[in-house]
Symmetry: C2
C-alpha cells in the first residue's frame, strides 16, 4: 500500500496550478483575432458563508474521526465548493462561494463512513460525497435548506488496493483513489484498469462508478460501469454488498442501481473491477476521412465487426480544422476533412494483428492512414483541455463541453440539431466542435466543445445555450448525458428521458435507502 | 409479419408430444442396469380446482379482449399451470393442479395489456404473465390467497417484429415470440438474435428478458440481458419506456431493473435488442482435455484473451463419460478426460481466422482437437435433454438440473461443494454431471444435471437435495442462479445473496410500480 500525494485542485481553476501552463503568445494572438481579448479578473479570497453547522456537532465528528480529519478552515471549504463545470468556475471566479460546505470530514474506512452517515441521520446533516471534485454537472451542489448543516464527505483517505485476484482478473479498490494512483497500485501487480477519462488526473474510483464514467480507451477496455463486478456501499440504513458473479439471473442487477447513483443512495466504499494485464505497448495513429459521415460510418463498421482498437475517436470537420490550424487559417472554411485517432494497447503481436485488420478495413472504407505523429500529438495533449479552458476564461472566451449519445441511425440528426441549437443560442462567432469518442455496436456518443465571446453576464449566456442543447437532445430522443451523470444541471431533463414512472422508481429507492434524505439532497433524484 | 403456429406444450411433459421420441430400447437397458426400471404412471385428466374468479369479471374481460381471448376451459387452465421444473412435472404427474389459473387472457397489444392490468388493479385480480411456460424456478406459481381471482396473462398473440434498424443493428420484438419465431422473422431481414437456450423451441422474448436468460452461444452473442437496449413495459401504474442510447450516465440504468424482474414489476410489451447478421456458416468441433481443471483453465485463458468462439462449453469427467458411454462402460470409472465443444458462427473467412487463433491457443494449453463429429453430435442433440427427462421420469429416474456462477478463482471450490451436497443428499447411486457453458473474463457458470432413483415420494427427495445445493452455493459466495431467475424456488436464498437491504430495495420498487401487489404475487420479491 503506497503512500499518496494529496493533489489539491485550485478553487477557481482546473487541477493543480503548478501543472498548468500559460497561454502561449501565438495562441493569444489567435484568440485575439477570433474573439478579441477581454481580461476577466478573478475575485481572490472571496468570503465564505458562515458555517451553518453547530460547533458541538463538529466536535463530535472530530471525536469520531480524529481532530485532523474534520476541517472547517476556509481553504478546505473553498476547495470542496461545487465541481469544475464552466458555470461552477464562473461562480467561483465571481467570488460566489454560497455553496461551500460547512465542514469537511475525511473517514478512513467503510466503518467510519457508516458512522458518519449514522450521525448525519441522527442530526439531519446533509452529506455530499466528494472524490476528485471534478464533477461537471452540479453533482456537488446539494440543497442545504432544512438541514442542520452540510458536510463534504471527502474520500481522500480511502486509497487502498484492498484485494487483487490474478486468476479472476479482478481488483478491489477504495473509492478515494485517483486515476493515476489506482493505475500505480495496479501496475505494481502487472495490471491496469485502462480507464482514462479527461479528468483522469484528479477523478476517483468512487466517482467513476457513481457517475458511470467512460474513458478515452473505452473501445478497448469498456466504460467504467461495464468494468464493475462488485460494490460495497454504506447507506443511511446500513451496508449493501453486491457481486457474487460476473453476471447472473438472481433478479434485477442491483449493481446497476448504485452505478450512476451519484451519492444519492449511498457512499461506495469499495469497488471491485475487472482488470487487464498492463499493456507492453501503446501505439496511436491518425487517419484522414473525407467527411464526418464517412468517418462515423467507418467507426460503426468497426464496432459492428467486433474489430475495435483500444482507442477510437473522430473529430468533425470543425474540430479537425481547429486542431490542425495555423494562425493564418483561422476563420477560413475548413476543407480538410476529418481526423480519426486509433490506438492499440496490449502485447506487440496482438497489437500488430489487430492493427493490420483495422487498417485493412479502414482503407477499404476510404480512410487514409496518417501515421503515428497525429496519434502521439493526441496522446500528449489528451488531459490538457481543462487547463486551456482556464486560460480562455481568463481572457473572456466562454468555453464549455457537453455530450450525449444515441443509436447510429439517429447520429446525424442529433449531431446537427445540437450543433444548431448551440449556434443559434450563442450567436455569430460561436465555434462548435464535436467528436465521437465512445462507440457501441448499436450507437455512439457525441461530445461537443463550444467557444464564444463572453457576454457581460456569461452565466445566463451559457445556461440558456445549455438548455437549448439539452432540449435538442430530448427532441432527438437521445440521452441527456453519455458519461457525465445527472447532478443538478441535467435534472430538468431526466424525467423526459426516463419517464414519470422512471423518476418515481428513483424516488422510491431513495426513500427506501435514505428515508430522511441526508445524502446529496437535490442531486439526481427527480 | 408472418403467421405463427401455436405450439402448445403438454401439461405434464416438456414440449409438444409430437416432437418427443420414446426412450430407445438400448437406453432402457442401460437405465435398468443403473437405476432399475420403475414405471411411474401419470394421472391423466386430473380435476381442476373450481375457478375462484367471479363470472361477471370474466365477462368484462371478454368484452375487453374478445370472446375467444379469455379462456376458462380445462385444457387452457391445465396448460398454464406452473412451469417445467422437475417438481412442477412431478406435481402435474401426480394430478395436483391446485396452482391452475382461474382464466387465461390473451391481449394482442400493449394497450390491451395495460387495460387488463388496470382492470386487475380495480378488482384485485392476481396476474401471472405467461410466455412459453418453460420456467424452471416456480415463477408461474403465484400466490392466490387474498385475490379476487388469478389470471394467466398469455402473450401468445403478441408476436410481431415491430421494427428493424439495419444501421443501428437493432430490432424491436413483441414478447410472445418464441425463439424460432423470432429467428424466422429476423432471418427474413438477414439478421439473427443468436439466443439459443435449451428452452429455445418454446421460451419467448419476454421470458428471456424477464428472467435474464443465457443461451448456448453466449460466448459469441452475449447473454440476453446484454442484448437488450430498449424496453416498453406496462405496469399497474402505467407505461415505462426506456432506452435512449446503447449506454449512458443518466442515473442508474433502469433497464437493468426490469431485466430479471419476472413479471413482478410490469409486463414487457416490447423489447429492443441488438441483432447480428445471419451467419453464413456454423461450425462446431470437439476438444479433449485431460481434466475438467485443464479445460476450465483454457476457457479462462480464451475469455481473458478476448478470443472467444461463438459456442464454448466443457463437460466434466462424469458428463463426458456419460455422453460418450457405451452400455458396457456404465458404472466403470471414467478415465477419459473432458470434452469441450467450440463453435464458430459467422462469415467463413472470419470463422476460419478465429478458429485458427483459438486452435493455436487451445493446443498450446494441452487440448486435443477431435474434429467436427463431436460438434455435430452436440448441435444435433442440443435441445433434446428436456424430452429425455420425461422418458426418465416415466421409469422412476428422478432427473433435474440446477446452475450457478462465480469468479474463476472460486470455480473449483464451488464445483466440488455443490456436487458433494447433491451426492450427500441423494445418496449412493446418484449421478451428478456438470458443465461450464457460459464464460466471462472474470468467471463462469456451472450447470449440473442430477439423476437418481426416485424414492416413494420424489418431491421432498428433490427439494431436500436442491436446498442442500443452494446452501452450498451461498456458502461458497456464488449466485443462486446464473440464468434461470428466482421465481419462488430460489426466493429463500435471494436475501442471502443480495442482503437485507437489497431485498428492501426490490420491495420498494415493487410497492412503487405495483402498489396493490397484483403482479405475480409471491414471485421474486423477498
Amino acid at each position: 500500500m503506497t503512500a499518496y500525494v494529496q493533489h489539491e485542485m485550485h478553487p477557481t481553476r482546473w487541477g493543480n496550478p503548478d501543472g498548468a501552463t500559460d497561454l502561449p503568445e501565438s495562441a493569444r494572438g489567435l484568440i485575439e483575432m477570433v474573439f478579441g481579448l477581454d481580461e476577466r479578473p478573478t475575485v481572490v479570497d472571496a468570503p465564505l458563508p458562515t458555517p451553518g453547522i453547530a460547533p458541538e456537532l463538529v466536535d463530535v465528528l472530530r471525536g469520531m474521526l480524529g481532530e485532523g480529519n474534520v476541517l472547517t478552515d476556509d481553504d478546505a471549504r473553498r476547495l470542496r465548493t461545487r465541481g469544475k463545470s464552466t458555470p461552477d468556475l464562473l461562480r467561483a471566479r465571481a467570488g460566489d462561494l454560497s455553496d461551500a460546505p460547512d465542514a469537511v470530514v475525511r473517514p478512513e474506512s467503510h466503518e467510519q463512513v457508516q458512522a458518519v452517515l449514522d450521525y448525519a441521520v441522527e442530526h439531519h446533516l446533509a452529506v455530499v460525497p466528494f472524490g476528485g471534485g471534478t464533477c461537471v454537472t452540479g453533482g456537488l451542489v446539494a440543497r442545504r435548506e432544512g438541514y442542520a448543516g452540510l458536510i463534504s464527505l471527502d474520500l481522500v483517505r480511502m486509497k487502498r488496493l484492498l484485494a487483487v485476484d490474478h486468476e479472476s482478473m479482478t481488483a478491489t479498490l477504495e473509492p478515494g483513489l485517483r486515476g493515476p494512483e489506482a493505475e500505480a497500485l495496479l501496475a505494481e501487480e502487472g495490471l491496469t484498469l485502462g480507464h482514462y477519462p479527461q479528468s483522469f488526473e484528479y477523478a476517483t474510483i468512487g466517482g467513476f462508478a457513481a457517475t458511470r464514467s467512460s474513458g478515452q480507451s473505452s473501445a478497448g477496455y469498456g466504460r467504467f460501469d461495464a468494468l464493475v463486478v462488485g460494490l460495497r456501499v454504506a447507506t443511511p440504513r446500513g451496508e449493501v454488498r453486491l457481486g457474487t458473479s460476473p453476471a447472473n439471473a438472481a433478479g434485477p442487477d442491483l449493481r446497476q442501481l448504485f452505478l450512476g447513483s451519484e451519492g444519492a443512495y449511498g457512499v461506495l466504499t469499495a469497488v471491485t473491477v475487472r482488470v487487464r494485464r498492463l499493456p507492453a505497448e501503446k501505439v496511436y495513429e491518425g487517419w484522414h476521412w473525407p467527411s464526418f459521415d464517412a468517418g462515423a460510418d467507418a467507426m460503426r463498421t468497426l464496432a459492428q465487426s467486433g474489430l475495435l482498437p483500444t482507442v477510437l475517436r473522430l473529430s468533425d470537420e470543425a474540430e479537425t480544422g481547429l486542431n490542425l490550424a495555423r494562425p493564418d487559417e483561422i476563420g477560413a472554411e475548413s476543407t480538410g476533412g476529418c481526423m480519426m485517432i486509433t490506438g492499440y494497447e496490449g502485447e506487440p503481436a496482438a497489437n500488430a494483428a489487430k492493427r493490420a485488420a483495422v487498417t485493412g478495413l479502414l482503407e477499404s472504407l476510404g480512410g487514409t492512414c496518417l501515421g503515428e505523429e497525429p496519434g502521439r500529438s493526441w496522446a500528449h495533449g489528451r488531459f490538457h483541455a481543462p487547463y486551456l479552458r482556464d486560460s480562455l476564461l481568463d481572457v473572456g472566451v466562454l468555453v464549455e463541453t457537453l455530450e450525449t449519445a444515441t443509436f447510429w441511425s439517429n447520429r446525424d440528426r442529433l449531431y446537427r440539431s445540437v450543433k444548431q441549437a448551440l449556434e443559434t443560442s450563442l450567436g455569430e462567432g460561436t465555434i462548435v466542435l464535436c467528436h465521437i469518442s465512445h462507440v457501441y455496436e448499436t450507437g455512439c456518443s457525441l461530445y461537443y466543445t463550444v467557444a464564444t465571446k463572453e457576454s457581460a453576464d456569461p452565466l445566463p449566456q451559457w445556461l440558456t445555450a445549455k438548455a437549448a442543447a439539452s432540449e435538442a437532445m430530448m427532441d432527438a430522443g437521445a440521452t441527456i448525458t453519455h458519461h457525465h451523470a445527472v447532478g443538478t444541471d441535467h435534472k430538468p431533463w431526466l424525467t423526459r428521458e426516463i419517464g414519470e414512472l422512471g423518476g418515481s422508481v428513483l424516488r422510491a429507492v431513495k426513500a427506501d435507502l435514505d428515508p430522511t434524505g441526508i445524502l446529496n439532497p437535490g442531486v439526481l433524484i427527480p
